[in-house]
Each structure stands twice: as structure tokens, then as C-alpha cells.
Symmetry: D2
Subunit: 347 residues, 4 copies
């Protein structure tokens, strides 16, 4: 069983993640994690914070001489901008953010106490754990990519930067749609046997758990509502050289809650950043009078970064399903189980 | 902690579900469960099976004199059409179904052994457990509804039946989009504190775990990609009589992974049924030669039924979050915690 | 991930268990489950209930033609003595039983509503799920046995019946100690990597979860407090023919939370049955006046039966650890992973 | 749901723990954690490592101005003796330790890669998380203590140091028995409703998960095997001033898997340390020839320290059950639920 937790506030001392259940024998290069952390910080439309932080993963445990021990990986990302204790109170909840609901739920008196954890900065920790999962899956031939499909209503990639620049001028923000594709996923991950083991259930959960993601779809997704069954399922073929295969991939690589051997394709929609320089109507939580929402330093658009986070959490779910299927103690045993399985299903 | 498992094959002896963690003191009327089971079986476009089965929940445990004991509820739904042992082998996987991936994963020799469990008939068991959760939440003032928004590309409800009839004539199937709305949800369910506690993560997981659901969105959903931040977040207001409130609900009742006190609104897309009377290309798993996919007795459209299942699984997730927040042993204690909380957040 | 839930009251309609996560391809003979259910009901000292019930497992799902499908097994055991609705209220809690604490916790007004679920009858459902796990492990060469070591202070097996008969005459009850031994367990199940993955942690939990079990020990157990380190650890040897081995087994087959290839040996103490024909002091929950505890039909001694239940729950934990290690989808793949592993660790 | 993970090797950079699910509003004084960390390091019989390390908890997240935010607490304990990369290989497994089984399981070539995580040093991280749980429970009036009952066969506390000194002279080690008592636990924690929710199951699991603990018992424990039922259960009394109570506590505060309002009393046996200066027979893993087991710097006796760890993990389990029962978001709400409950069960 692969699992991970994260901890850490946006302006706290550090972000931390513990990733439990990685097999022994995997070479983990911290630079590969840092590369993903940098990708997460990049993209047109990022704000000032990203210039302050240059996230670096300090692997605290679970490795010796660069190779996993089978014990949990603890990873720390220090916050350069550590000043949570000194930061001012926030009194006007930002619509769209956890500010108000968190305040009520936790009985807090300062919105700062909500937003510090609800902040998307936490996703740096997920990218750290996810990058380790990705290294495992890349070892077994999987390949992760993501790309932005739409920003602020625009679908022409050549115009994304302009849309973002325009939003910045307008002191506004924009959301968008991104796509994640994973190639090299073997048929057989996930299961229909129990509802919570379906691969798409796990993926949908981690996708919408990314702050700001409000929608997710697999393959044709919402497009399935517009086509008859005869035109949208993927006929099955067989060739001796490659076993069963498809010529189309409307299913996005998952049928009946199980990977079917084709590329996993999912898309998600990230809403516009909730912190606006032209703040929306809100209420002062102390006086209960109308007021403008708080303004925190923030980004204009993070669709591209959200795609990077999505790759990472997708890797976490796939790695979990992969280890469930092929056992999980050391790379040598997993490799042998994996090769044996591929041989069996191709014969 | 609320949890449930289901068991049962489509033509097996019975479906079974065990729902663990319901508090004591709740009156559970089996007729309310049966009402939901009937709703699940209804809708234009259902096939012959629905005429054979009239699902009835037999509550095996967890109740005495109609009231929950705090012990797990075991619920059984007998299959009238119990003949799994005699049913013929299936040799040509249906594209879109778990048939092929399940066969490979589990090393089976007969697709029948896959489809019996992967069948959507399993959702009757989820509706049973979900209906109990719903009774709990209705006691606390929540209200669940669902409706079909689109069928086979058509968005005019007046034409849904015609679209389905046309598909039947064409020996084809159609999918569609449904919406679930839950009113009366208090602010504060779910959390941003850890990724897997976000309310939308739990909801997205159970929604896409419904066989055939390929997409899910909350509130504006994919529509967030087309609007600037200044136009899509929901400004916050306050009135003494009702506490904090919103005049819009683009967020679909969830901000930062937490219910915000507005209606929870989610939509999902159900793909067209994969069993086609005009079967798609497939492969005979024994000869590996091209063949037409298997034809099983099936439905033409199940979007409406999927909405009913979605209400049920939504209730499971909300009930879990509700009990996590307000403790979980007996109705009296929960009620007292709930009233106290509402009072606190409204002051 | 292997998991199971049970449901069912002592005089309810039936007991039910759902066992999720068993691999496909395993032949499961219901008679083997029934054999364990009969063993659970036997033993000198059992009361009248055991003459009423002859537990039989009805496998509701998860099998076709006697072989597992990879889908969850639902098992039902009908209660002949189904009359929970008519049974009289119980007003005086029995010391030692859940009666009083359960009443308070769940806010109930009738102790009947507690004892029906807290009853050890529930263990029949665990034996059902555990027997399926055992069939899996027996397939891989494990062997489960249990025996009674002490009854009512007596350690000579030849006198156990007499001790029990004497207790019956005295209208009293007796407890005792039993031992479970599992042979054929490979080295490597469980892990020190995280506290909750230790094999002994899982075993201790399910052992003391058997109603009445108040103590558990592995190998030398409490005896370790009396010996120096130089005399109680098990030296390691190696022979080409068998790989690493030990000549002693003080550790009871587990070191550092991992099975070490020797027999797993654990012992547990079952307290005397709490229902006494000479009832202890108690309090009437309605009047709050002193009164004698309730008298329910019951047993005199159940140490032997507890050993049977212990075998079953031990099998559940070992099967879970086994499937975690060797993957879990079908017998063929597991067998191949298992053989490969044994070869690796013996070389 | 309260949960925690730990990470960290004995001579790694640091130990880390993430504790997820603590409510908001609790004042957490790092000094209280450090006090427990110091207690864990103390006790007659500790070796040189304890003089090198003076464990200090650095709370990385989850607090602001000393008060919990409802977000996860990340705690780091830096290892002064950080030199895992330079440490020599270990080739001869120590009997009693995870050395051999871990080597086989994880396919490692150096026992160092096992023992670094299997080391009891990891328990410092558990003490850190457990101390936070303890602060919560102390706020609600619980009180934790532990004491040593036996060391190396000796039950007279006045002679414990002498027994340890003697073992040191003999270049040997000794184990012993310790007891944990928790006062102020309300009736109603844990449940008989499902086997894995029994309070004693959770406690037994974490107790034997402490490295070296081989036995655990509640109340009379194994002593129940020697007494008739009429003499070992705890009669129930009632007084207006205190509600239900007992005059004896053979049950150790738990009946039917639920706390009954009396003190929780458990005992556990810690085996002698496995690292011996007079090493036992072992095998060189490279040559497969007989050899003496490895000698690592180590302790002579750690029974007292094990008691401190046991207090901490006991606090984790009780805090989890407490939050399950009384909800878990903020101290104010929990307090109100708790007071209401006490009032209800005492009336």
C-alpha cells in the first residue's frame, strides 16, 4: 500500500511530505524532484512568490547512497519566505477560497489561519512525493506529459500569454483546461471489484483535490453525451506482435475502472485564481459589515503549473495501483512480476 | 468513520452490502430504500432485466424495531434472475466495458467471469447503503435531487424520450449528462487540511466510480475556463437572520474542499451503454480472430438511473463527512453537536 | 489490499460478511468453511445455543463454479434462532460485557440493543471470511492449528473437561489460554518500515478483538522478561538445502515486525464468560437501584472455540500481508511471484 | 480521523512525523514534547547514543503562535549523529532483530540498510506525535503514567539498577515488563460494532509495534485464565454523584472493546535488546559461513523507555477514538460535545 501525507503552511518554516510504501532498490535522484518543483513554479502568469522561492527537495530519509531502502521517504522543502508568525490578520474572506468555510469550520478568528494551509503552495509537497512515484513508473516505461488546452476562454496556445497579460492589465485572473497523458501504462491497473478500487475514482479524487480544480474528465469525457454508442467505444484488435490493441482511444485508457493498455488521457479545469487585485464583495468577519475581499500577493494564471501538479498526483495513484498489482518490496521482485505478467497477457 | 462494501454478481444469488458506522437511534424505513431502488430501475430506455427484477432491500442486521443500533447494517437484494452457474461463456470482449482489461488482469478464461461483477447491477447495492445515509442526512434537513440535462446530444427534456426511441430503432445506445443537487448542507464538511479529505475529492471519486461515468464537474465546472476571476467567484454577504450567504453559486457549494453552506451542485457525464445490438469489432479471445463483440441483454439509456445512483453515493460521502464532523455514536449526541455548531457559526 | 466487514446480531436474521480483495482462480469449497464453523461451535463447555444453530455458510457472491472471480465474497450465515424483535429488554448490565459501556456510548435504553451485536456470535462471520483466507494460504503451503494450554487454572489437558464440569456445577464459568501455530509462513511478511505494517501489530489487533481475549503474546512472550538476551534470541544458521534457518523459535516466527520463516506461534488469554448463572452485583439502568446482573443463555467455557476463531483471524492478517507482498489478482500470477521470491531468498 | 506517519533512519539526517487530524485551537508547547523525548532517552541501562543525541522537536507546521490550526503537524527531530552514508556494511544478522528477515524481504545486500529503519530510534518520532495527542487528552482531563514492573526476572524496583549493572558486566542485556495507566478516560471510546474499532485492538496493535515488545495484556490479562468468572468481573454500582462506577478494575478499563470509565491499565513485555557484546551465532550473508552476529553500539535495558513510548502510542489511539466520538474540528466544539456527553451519561 502506497500512501503519503503532507504538512506545511504557505509561510511556515517548511513543507514536509512522508511517502510510505516505496519499494527498495530504486535510484532516486533529488535533481529529478527539483526539476518537477521548478516546472511547478514556472509558467506565464505566476506572481512574486515564485521569484522568492526556488523550491529544493531535501530528502531526509528513505535513501542511502541514492537508492531507496523500502523505508518511508521524508522530504522537506524549506520556505524562504518564512514569516507566518509575523503576518497580519486577514479579516475579509476571498470568495472562491477556503477562507470563509475554513474559518467557520475550525472556529478560527483570523483568516490567515485558514489560507496558510489552504494555499496551493502545499502542492509543492505533493509534487515532491509524486516525483518519486514518477521515477518508479518511468523505470517501468511510463511517460508523463501535460499541456494547457485553454486559458481564459482561448484555445489557441499561441495566444495564451496574451490572454494572461491582458488579465494582468485588467487586474483580473484567468483559469483554463489542462490535459495529462500517461503513456506506457499496462492493462490491468485498478479494478471494478469494489467501487473505491476503480482507477478513475482514485485519479478523479486526486485531480479535484488540487486547489482550484473544479472538473475532470477521462478520454471523450463530457463529449460522450453527444455521440451514440456505436461511434464512441474503441473496437478491439489483436496482433501477434503487440497483443490486443485499439485504433482509437475515446476511453482515455480506462474501461470498467481498469487501465486497458492505451494511454491514460484526462483533462481538468482550473478555475481562475480567487485572489483579485480588484477584490470582490465580502464581509468583515469582525464587524460583519460589507467590505472588499482581502488581497494577498498572488498569481494571474496557474493552469500550466496545475498540469505539473496533476502529473505528480496522477503518478501517485498509478504507482499505488502498480504496486498493489505487482507486489511492493523490491525492484527486482516487482520487475520479475511485471515481466511475467506482460508475457502472460500478450500470449 | 463511515464505510461500506458491496458484493454480488449480476446473475448471482444476491447483492449484499455492509454499511458500517451509522449512529444509533435513527429510524430506517425499508420502504425508503425500496423507493430509491425502484427509482434506479426506472427511466425511459431501460431493458428487459429491469422488468425481471423488482429490487427489494432485506435489512439483515443493524436495526431493531426499525431503529439503528449503532451496529453495521447488512442489506441483501435477492436476484430473481439467479443463473450465473448456467450462463454461457462470453468470448468476444465488448469495447467500452471492463471485459478485456478484466480478463487480462484476473487471468480468466471466460469474459462472463468479468462482466458479472463489472455490471452496473452492482449499483443497486450502493443505492441501498446510500439510501440509509440519505435517511440520516434528511433527518438533518438535507434534500437530494437529480435531473437529466442532456441525452444523446439533446438538451431539451421534452425530446429525451424521442432520442432514446430513435437509438433503440437504430439498435444503438446513448449517453448523457445528469446533475445532482443537495440542499441544506451546512458549511464546514470536508477539509483542505489534507488532500484526501477534500469534500470534492470524495465526491468526484464516487461519482466516476459509477460504471459508465467519464466526467464530473462542480458548479461552473469546465465553464470556469471561459470566465475571468472577477466574474466567476461568489461574493460573500451577511445577514443577521441567516449568517453568511451568497447570491450566486458558481462554486457549486464547495470552496477550498469544504462545503460553504450553499447547495452542492455537481454534474456528470454517463457514456452510452457499451452493449450494442449492432456490435462493434472485437476479437475472439480463444482464436484471436476478429469477431463481433458479445451481445448481452441490456439497456438503451441509463442517464436518469445514473442520477439516482449518484444521489446515493453522494449521500454516502456527505454522511461520512457529517459524522466525522459531529461525532458518530447516537442521533441525540449528533443532534446536539450539530445544533451547537450551527449556533456558533451563525453568531 | 484484503479487507472484510461483518454484520449481524446474535438473534437477528443472519450474519453476513463481505471479504474484498481475494484473487481470482482459487477453488473455495463451502464445506471447508462449514468445517471451521462447526469447529467453532464445538468444545466442552458450550451452551444451548450451539445446539440450536448448525452454522452453514451460504456463499452469495464472488465464486462461479466453485472458483473465485476476483470479486468480493459475500457470505451469509442464517440464524435459526431469529427472534430479535420479540426478545425481552435487558435492564441490568453484566459486569465484564459491553452492556454498560455500550448503553452509555450509544444512548440506548435497552441493553438488548448492545448485547445482540457485542455477542461472540459475530465471530462466526469472521470465521467464514477467515476460512476463505485460510484456503488461500493452505494452497501456498501454510498450516494452521490451535490448542488449549490452560483452562480455569489447570494446565493438564486431561483435566480440562473436569474443570469445566465443575464450573458448570458451581454455576460459574472459566477462561483459559490457547495457542495458535502457523507453519509454512515464508520469511518477509509484514514490515518495520511503518509501525502499522508490523505483522505482530496486525495479529495482536485481531487477536484481542475476539470478544473476551485480554492478552496476547508471541513466542516466549512475557517469558522474555525473565531471561538475558544471550539466552533468548534465536541464533541463525544456513544450509544449502534449506537456506537460513533457526534451531530455536523463541521469537515465535516474527522479528522486527516481519515473519522470519519459522512457525508463527502466538498465545492468548480468554477471560471467563461474563454471563453467570450466579449473577454478580449490578444496577438496574431504569431505577438505578442495585440488582443482580442479567442472565442470558450462555456457555461455561469457550477457550477451544476462541482458538478456532483465532486461527481464522490470524489467517486474515497473514493473507493480507501475503497478498500485499506477492500482488493480488490471480492465483497464477501470485504463484509465479511466490516461487520466484522463494528462489531468490534461498540462493 | 487521526493518523500519523513517521520517517527517518537511525543515523539519517532527521526523523520526521506528520500528524494529521488534530483539531484547531489547542495550545501545543514544544517543551512538553521535548520533555517526553527526554524521558524516552533516559533510564538506567541506556547506551552511548543517548549521550550523543538530545532530541528536540522542531514543529515545522500546524501551529501559529503556539496554537493548532487544524492542519497537520509536521515535526522534525534532527539526528546529531548523522552519518548513514559513511557507515560500514553489516554482514552478520543479529538474532532477534529485523536484520535477516528485512534483508530477504527487501532484497538488500547490506544489513545496514535494514537496521537503520528497524532501529528503535524511530520511536522518537512516535513520541513526538504521541505527545501532541497527549496534550489534547490532558486538556480533557486524562492522565498518563507508566512504570516498570519487572527487569531481567526481578520484580523488586529497588533492585532493577543492580540487575542492569550485572547484565552490563556480563556483556549481556535484559528485558522486562512495564505498565501503562491512563486515568480520566470517559466511558464510550472504541466500539464492538466492528472488530477493528475495538479500543483494545487499536491499543494492542500500537503496543506490540514498539520494537521489542512481544506481549501485551489488559487488566488481569493472562491472570484471567486462573480465576472463575464469579471472581474476576467487576460488579457495577451507581451513585448519584458519580454515575456508574466499579470498586475493582480487573478489566483494565475496557469491556466489550469499549472504555468503561475506569482507568485503562495495560502491561507489555519488552524482550532483551538483541545487540549483544557477546554476540550469538549467525551467518555471514556473503560467504554463508558461520560467524558471530554484528555488534552495534547499543543499550543494556530499555524497559523504562519502552514505557514512555507506550504512553505516547497509547495517547495516539485514545486521541483517535476520542476525536471519532466527539467530532474533530476545533477545541470549542469538542469541548461542548464532550461536556454534553458526560452530562447525558451521568444522568
Amino acid at each position: 500500500m502506497l500512501r503519503f501525507l503532507t504538512a506545511g503552511e504557505s509561510h511556515g518554516r517548511a513543507l514536509v511530505t512522508v511517502l510510505d510504501g516505496m519499494p527498495a532498490g530504486l535510484r532516486v535522484d533529488a535533481e529529478k524532484i527539483n526539476f518537477q518543483l521548478r516546472r511547478r513554479q514556472a509558467g506565464h502568469g505566476r506572481g512574486g512568490r515564485m521569484r522568492i522561492e526556488t523550491d529544493k527537495a531535501e530528502i531526509v530519509s528513505g535513501l542511502r547512497r541514492g537508492v531507496t531502502l523500502g523505508s518511508p521517504l521524508g522530504i522537506r522543502i524549506v520556505n524562504r519566505d518564512f514569516r507566518i508568525e509575523q503576518m497580519p490578520s486577514v479579516t475579509c474572506p476571498r470568495p472562491g477560497h477556503a477562507d470563509l468555510a475554513g474559518l467557520l469550520k475550525y472556529g478560527l478568528g483570523d483568516i490567515r489561519d485558514v489560507l496558510e494551509r489552504a494555499s496551493a503552495r502545499e502542492t509543492a509537497a505533493r509534487v515532491a512525493s509524486g516525483s518519486v512515484c514518477r521515477i518508479l513508473l518511468e523505470y517501468f516505461g511510463m511517460k508523463f506529459t501535460s499541456r494547457v488546452l485553454k486559458v481564459g476562454g482561448e484555445t489557441n496556445p499561441g495566444k495564451f500569454d496574451a490572454v494572461i497579460d491582458k488579465a494582468r492589465e485588467d487586474r483580473d485572473t484567468v483559469g483554463g483546461v489542462f490535459e495529462v497523458v500517461v503513456a506506457g501504462v499496462p492493462a490491468g491497473l485498478g479494478s471494478y471489484a469494489q467501487y473505491d478500487k476503480r482507477l478513475n475514482a482514485g485519479l478523479a479524487a486526486v485531480l479535484v483535490s488540487i486547489p482550484g480544480v473544479k472538473a475532470v474528465e477521462f478520454g471523450l469525457g463530457f463529449g460522450y453525451a453527444d455521440k451514440p454508442g456505436s461511434e464512441c467505444h474503441d473496437p478491439v484488435y489483436y496482433a501477434r506482435s503487440r497483443g490486443y490493441f485499439r485504433k482509437s482511444n475515446n476511453a482515455g485508457g480506462i474501461e470498467g475502472g481498469i487501465s486497458n493498455g492505451e494511454e491514460i488521457v484526462l483533462r481538468a479545469c482550473m478555475k481562475p485564481i480567487c485572489t483579485l487585485l480588484k477584490p470582490l464583495d465580502s464581509v468583515n468577519i469582525n464587524t460583519k459589515r460589507s467590505a472588499k475581499a482581502a488581497v494577498e500577493r498572488s498569481d494571474i494564471a496557474v493552469v500550466e503549473a496545475a498540469g505539473v501538479v496533476a502529473e505528480a498526483v496522477t503518478a501517485c495513484v498509478l504507482a499505488g495501483a502498480f504496486l498493489d498489482k505487482f507486489g511492493g518490496d523490491c525492484l527486482e521482485d516487482i520487475n520479475s512480476a511485471y515481466r511475467g505478467y506482460l508475457k502472460r497477457i500478450r500470449k
